[in-house]
Amino acid sequence: MKTKHTKSDNTKPQDMKTEGMKTEETVDTSAPALRNADPQTPARFTRPSAFAFVVLVGAAALLIHGWTQGAVVNPAELVTGAGRLGDFLADAFPPDLDRVLPILQSLLVTFEMALLGTIVGVILSVPLAIAGARNTSPHRSLYYLSRGFITVCRTIPDLVWALIFVIAVGLGPQAGVLAIAVDVMGFCGRFFADSIEEMDNGVLEGVRATGAPEHSVIFGAVLPTCMPSFVATSMFALEQATRSSVVLGLVGAGGIGVELSVSMALLRYDEAMTIILAIFIVVLGVERLSAAMRQRILGGGS
């Protein structure tokens, strides 16, 4: 049955090309007959497509290779690990509040790092997005250049940017600010550009038709239209920046991360717990604040 199907399917197209034109009836009657000689219940299992097969085999190969390299979840070690985690928690509580003031101070600097980095990143994102949106880009080459730059900013993780900027400007918060700014450019540049591209083309046309030059079309139509989306995206970027500013200190780019890694290295787990809790409160606070502001802008706008 099966072989017959494939065989006739193979010969069919040639038949159609050479003779099908002349006698249409033969094609019409024979084609359904070949497809469905005896209709039956669909098979219980369908054979995976070649693509799915390749994906599955590839994933399996990666997992096996990873296993040989130690990328495993080992139940036995999980049990002993949980025990050690218990030791950590036992040491960590109650949190040591002796150094709470310097910790809060350094947390404040961390947030200020995030804030400045976000502001710089958002400001630089606007021209990037205008050049990187199809409907406002001055030139095709600028469009690709800008989109490419945004992609580079986005795909390289912020910790790597921090390492790079530590080399450039030395240890300290300035490296963190720069790393966050670049990270924000990758995020905001992309979403700002997308939001410009989503604009109704008629709005642009309406201003262009008055004879206004392109840069005033930006100020007169694009910015006012996209402003709510820009602000909401920026608030979201600030949230992310606050979260990532916490870990940037781990590579020496300033902020609370430095304190945390020192406490951990000195096995001062109770002090580390104070830092972790403080981080938790600040990040949660920024998240709530930004969510409330986004709600206000997007919900109350129109």
Binding site: V203, G206, G211, F219
Partner: protein, 260 residues
Amino acid sequence: MSAAVQLEDLKMRFRNGHQALDGVDLTVEPGQLLALTGSNGAGKSTLLRCMVRLQEPTSGMVRIHEAEVTGASSRALRRIRQDVGFIFQNFNLVDRVSAFRNVTNGAIARHGSQCAVPALVPSRVRREAMDCLERVGLAHLADRRVDTLSGGQRQRVAIARSLMQRPRLILADEPVASLDPAAGTAVMELLRDISAERGITVIAALHQVDFALDYSERIIGLRAGRVELDESNDRLSAERLHELYGPAPLTDSGTRGQRR
């Protein structure tokens, strides 16, 4: 007096192969109110849009107030557009800002880019913008966001924006098609009055035959991208105009309207 608009053998072919304009020749005298009629797809909008190159014509020539539009540099094109108001079916205003700010946008070409930023708009431009809003009867709504206005009000804001350009020509692409009859009448009356007051040439694409007959001095009928009819209003009967939409003469193989 020189012509307001001159078109010579204007052709426009879309990328999908549709021939929207198939050789249009037209001369419009200054101060005229001219109606462009024709069924959907006859090329009315395309013709208007090609005149100021919101769409690029494939071939032919457009001249507005003796300046050649086709082949103009982008700077020259902006200078030509400065004198030409364009009214759209869907208003094409910036919805999120006030009526007033939309009107000052009309001054950008003449007074420079500072008119795009509310804080920098010169006082005389602000006064003129209020005059324009006053003329269309919306001065009391200057501060209102455009997306809170009705369709008829929005179209009048759009007309105020084009008045801000101090235009010599207004191209109106289905200015009343999205409006209810009362608002439509108000907009057509406004267009007729400003045309008469200020000697502005108005070319309006209209598919309501009644509006075309009531408000225009001259009527151009398009069919399949060609000028099929060109008459001054007083010599034209409603029947003749309705024919443009109705069946083609029976000798014409009977496949009217749906070709292509």
